[in-house]
Amino acid sequence: MNPDHANPGGGNPPNFLTDLFANALDPGYADAAARGARRSPVARGVRVVALAAIGFLLAVAYREAVAAQPDRSQAHARLVEEVKAAQARTDDLQRRSDELRRKVTALQLAALGGGSEELKRIREQEAATGLAAVTGPGIVVTMIDAPPQIDPTTGRPSRAEVSRVLDVDLQSVVNGLWASGAEAIAINGQRLTSTSTIRAAGSAVLVDFRPVTSPYEVLAIGPDDLEDRFGASAAAATARALVDRYGLGFAVRSDGGLRLPAAAERSLRHASPVQPGTPTGGPK
């Protein structure tokens, strides 16, 4: 069947799609041939120009397609660089803060004299609030993201989302440790204080706004029976359930000599200490 015969005028045949599949060649060629078109040099020149334009178009499109890819990865690389620079700056500031802290400690020592009651109290309060590094016996709780599933057909790690340790899991473990009598806790070297936060941002876990990644090592200093008490706590039971259900890693071991770093100092902007002698409790 040739629609050109059914539709000699060359206009749109009644069924465009059928015609499209049956007769891919533009009907115009047949019409032109039927008219007996002459070959003029001008027409040939125009044809050459059109073909050159097509070649040009193909080359440009190819270049665009190739150029688009590096653009994307360049933007990605720039962002990674920015993040790395910001992290380095944070580390610098952290180092400087530690240095100043050491200086403050030295000045306190000089001003109050060693062995003074005052200094001892300051040290203890700093240790309790997390503003000073502490050492002592305790336990290490390790939580690890589930390993990626191995695809049985390809033998490669599947690209499906792996089961991750969530902020709530870490919160539960930390709360369990506090409840079991822990006196100082740090997650991946980030000391927790009374104002610490453990939050999720996307798929990352932030402790005090600094990202921590799997494996999560929760160091806790506490009494000798800390391991037993934590092992019997609801938090540990929840964590073990996560291991069974999602394949997360969870382990507890005791350590005789843990060393926990000091937390970054948070100065109080709105709250101020109550003066001794003023009645406390309840709104004024």
Binding site: L25, A43, L51, V60
Partner: protein, 110 residues
């Protein structure tokens, strides 16, 4: 022969000149390429069929590119740019396949 040389010259010019496509025109580039390919394969088939016509070829190329770009532009304005692009690619793709199949039959008798 002249046609192939012209095509090659265009490609070489495109590589040497390294033109930058204005951002506003970038969405139309892929569609324009498909439309141009349709015109080229249509022309080759017509040549093999012995009905090639310069005027028909040039007009089909220019109008293909313009109409395809216009449809995509209209689709973008109406918020259905993706769907209309797909439509254009399907229609032109079917024609390219048909013409290439015809060329293949003529060249290899298969």
């Amino acid at each position: 022969m002249i046609a192939v040389l012209a095509l090659v010259a265009g490609v070489v010019a495109g590589i040497l000149i390294e033109p930058t496509v204005p951002v506003a025109l970038q969405p139309y580039l892929p569609i324009a390429v498909v439309a141009a390919l349709d015109a080229v394969f249509g022309g080759v088939r017509a040549k093999l069929d012995g009905v090639f016509d310069d005027k028909q070829f040039v007009i089909s190329f220019v109008s293909n590119v313009l109409v395809a770009a216009f449809i995509v532009f209209l689709g973008d304005q109406l918020g259905v740019g993706g769907q209309l692009s797909t439509g254009v690619v399907v229609v032109l793709g079917v024609r390219i396949f048909g013409n290439v199949a015809a060329i293949r039959r003529r060249l290899f008798r298969a």
